[in-house]
Symmetry: C3
Subunit: 153 residues, 3 copies
């Protein structure tokens, strides 16, 4: 088990099998040492995490949803690394989309659910550039979608 | 005519002259072998494709709109390749923005109009990482805007 | 003072200290010669620029807000360059998010506030690929958020 997965186990996190995409595209593309991971939607083994911030979901639940997106991203990165997450050099950039009403203003606190998890799991390698914005709506009604750029070796 | 353009001709697609940007920016920037293409809005030779999914446009029409964005992206990539599309190595990443109401949930099906076209035209080189989200609104009221990252040689 | 900062001074612009991020992420990440800068929200030394285009802010004020995002991006790039902005090779890509109602259509004119400033300040090195879309809402209620990719040497 890689050092990172040992740390994940300590956090009680088991990476799921990397979710397959829902359409005619791929979960990630690598060019050079850069891996672009498709937007991961909020979900657990129990199903999708649906919701709209500012309407039927509070910020804390949104952050928990964002955390599941980060877990999905790591699962894809693991696959991009041929199963060895220790090849991950760092998280470069996240773009976080929050499903929210027009008057919601806590996008950063929601996406912190992903950012905090990545730093907790990866240490300094988890620190990343980031944007956090609201989408008018998201696929299937999920609460959060996050895409990521990663550097691997 | 490049192999790819021959294939496009078989699909009945002629790439338009690469649309010029509407403002003080450029249609694409290349760094190394990576080409970043500006967001292409849904349009044909007949004009803009306007609409809001969930209100006055259905998913099928949205997918057709997304397809025109992909054609616009390829037109820009052709220009980036100095006219020779066979220099395109692969489509790396798309970010698709759908103009929709707050309760629309079929963003992936809309953006599939672009993804399916790229795979149809380019084969495996057309497979890409992707995010599909809703924008609250889009320039000039268009239905779809898609930006892309491409690898060329 | 760098050539670029001399030009900024002529424009009456003093770069602020690079704003620190509001959460567990970093303002920028560099991989190779590429710098990814986190989304910068519209603000001046006097505080946040709040507003929603199509509701309580007009396009001209939105463009002024976008200009402050571009200043924030340059401030971060300066930091990424160890203080010497003349190491900036070019602006590669901007993604501009406009806080707007669902019927707003002048996103490009708003984000032009950033694009025009960058070309005014940097000349051809300021020309970039770009997307301009509406977000349903933005952090803290700001009017504009812009993220950027930059090439430095």
């Amino acid at each position: 088990m890689s050092t990172i997965e040992t740390r994940l186990a300590e956090l009680g996190v088991t990476l799921p099998d990397a979710p397959a995409p829902a359409a005619n595209y791929v979960p990630f593309v690598q060019t050079g040492d850069t891996v672009y991971v498709s937007g991961q939607i909020s979900m657990t083994a129990d199903g999708l995490i649906l919701g709209k911030l500012g309407a039927d979901m509070d910020t804390e639940a949104g952050a928990a949803a964002a955390r599941t997106c980060a877990i999905g991203l790591l699962a894809q990165v693991k696959k991009a690394c041929g199963g060895d997450l220790d090849r991950l050099v760092r998280v470069v950039k996240l773009t976080g989309f929050v499903n929210s009403t027009g008057d919601f203003t806590e996008q950063p606190k929601v996406i912190n659910g992903a950012s905090d998890f990545l730093v907790e799991a990866l240490g300094d390698a988890g620190r990343h550039a980031r944007s956090a914005v609201s989408a008018a709506a998201l696929p299937l009604g999920v609460a959060v979608e996050i895409e990521g750029i990663f550097q691997i070796k």
